[in-house]
Amino acid sequence: MAYVALSEAEKTYILHGVEDDFRCDGRSRRDYRPMELETGLVSNASGSARLRLANTDILVGVKTEIDVPNPLTPEFGKLEFFVDCSANATPEFEGRGGSDLAQELVLSLQNAYESPLAFDYRTLCLIPGQQCWKLYIDILILECGGNLHDAVSLAAKAALFNTKLPRVTATLLDAGITDLIISDNPYDCTRIGIETVPLLVTVCKIGDYCLVDPSAEEEVCSTVSVVVSVSMRNGEPFLSGTHLTGGGAMHRDTMRNCLQLGLSIGEHLDKLLTKMLKLEQERVGPKRPKTVGFLK
């Protein structure tokens, strides 16, 4: 993460605040900072979303391509994640400076989306064994204010919700070759079901306590964090991946508490995101909306 310098006294203040369940900005350990969401900003992409979480700003674009499925999984489509840390966020990301962070985020996401129970790859299949959709989920980090995993996963989920796959019809030609006809009509499309699409929740350990949505200063004070990926199924939260970051170690009991916390927060966030996405869709209507974007 972008390095923020802090004095010992400031760290002590933050540590004690976490113990008292009253953080520097008045939040409790379970609170998130205000977020803002918008979808459909990028016209060159099949789906896009922008999520602001306090100072963290993420823009995601989803592009589609027809590809050949993996021979081991002929009925599954493909997903590919790409994270770009723009130098706009901090000069340290200039050139290849952000590549380590980008790699970490890509691995987290790949891990979370790997299970077919988390993401139904069969919906991306066109002709089993021959043709499938490949979705490129491109994530651009525009500003860094702590808690990147959560913001990135929320934005990715919103972008998938916004993605419109053109309707494809297949015709059988001679010699057993199937020809795919992709509809040109922008309104003739299928959507991707996102009920089970996972969200990442970073649970950060500071001192003896766990909290969510760490700010950049709080991240510096923590030795280790657990990134929990939560996937909902039939209203129940399931764990679809987890890993530790930060280079410290954690006791087993603490780990269990963190996972529990992550699951419960993940469930809450999922409901909230789905609700807001549907609300936005209702308010904006089916036609291509005039987006607010960066202009207001």
Binding site: G61, A87, T90, E94, L142
Partner: protein
């Protein structure tokens, strides 16, 4: 001339309905982000660019001994910015070329002598590329520099121009017009001083027409400058009027 497509219809309209000397619709905003010292967002037609400025700050490393400011740029294009997905946002030849061009043009505008041993970082991110990418990037960078309170000689503005098959000059080229094979000229200028800081040309121009096309691009620059100036004034009036920041002493 390689132009195999007439960019101008019989009614004198271009592919997107514009007249030859018409610029695309420009929208912009200053101060889009909180962390950089200055930031700006600029839309010219469907080309959308974000610029961020960090600095002036202490120059790092061996560069600290120079007497002039160090201007460091980066040009990056998001992977979803083009119709065909772009594999690498930066580091390819085009991005490195544009990075140099940005540094060259901005050096003409920034008052270097005021910032000895300091460094100014300017980062540009193209979110949607629909023609004149470098020009819009430079315009966004100017706004971001102004937002950061960095001393400039004046606005530095860029504009593109081309020539239709019937030798009528066209201002502000869109992506489709670019790839249709017509000649293309990009000019970065200090409009009030009427100085050109950067010029790039592709395809072939007859020397007789070059003068006209340059003048067309310069006229485009002047118009863009007026639009940007109005936007800066409006931004400051609205943002600053809230308090007595603006009260005249």
């Amino acid at each position: 001339m390689a132009s195999n497509f007439e960019l101008l219809s019989e009614q004198g309209l271009r592919l997107d309905g514009r007249r030859p000397h018409e610029l695309r619709h420009i929208k912009c905003k200053l101060g889009v982000f909180e962390q950089p010292d200055g930031s700006a967002y600029m839309e010219q037609g469907n080309t959308k660019v974000l610029a961020a400025v960090y600095g002036p700050h202490q120059a790092k490393g061996k560069k600290t001994e120079s007497n002039d400011v160090i201007i460091n740029c980066q040009y990056s294009q998001a992977t979803f910015s083009t119709a065909e997905r772009k594999n690498r946002p930066r580091g390819d030849r085009k991005s490195l070329e544009f990075k140099m061009y940005l540094q060259q043009a901005l050096s003409a505008a920034i008052k270097s002598e005021l910032y000895p041993r300091s460094q100014i970082d300017i980062y540009v991110e193209v979110l949607q590329a629909d023609g004149a990418n470098y020009a819009v990037a430079l315009n966004a960078a100017t706004l971001a520099l102004i937002d950061a309170g960095i001393c400039l000689n004046e606005f530095i503005v860029a504009c593109t121009a081309s020539l239709s098959k019937s030798n009528i000059p066209l201002t502000d080229i869109s992506h489709f017009e670019e790839v249709s094979g017509g000649p293309k000229l990009t000019v970065a200028a200090l409009p009030t001083a009427e100085k050109i800081a950067f010029l790039e040309m592709s395809e072939r121009f007859h020397i007789d027409h070059l003068e006209t096309v340059i003048e067309t691009a310069m006229a485009g620059c002047r118009e863009i400058r007026d639009i940007l100036e109005a936007a800066v004034k409006e931004h400051l009036l609205h943002m600053g009027s809230a308090a007595d920041w603006a009260r005249v002493c």
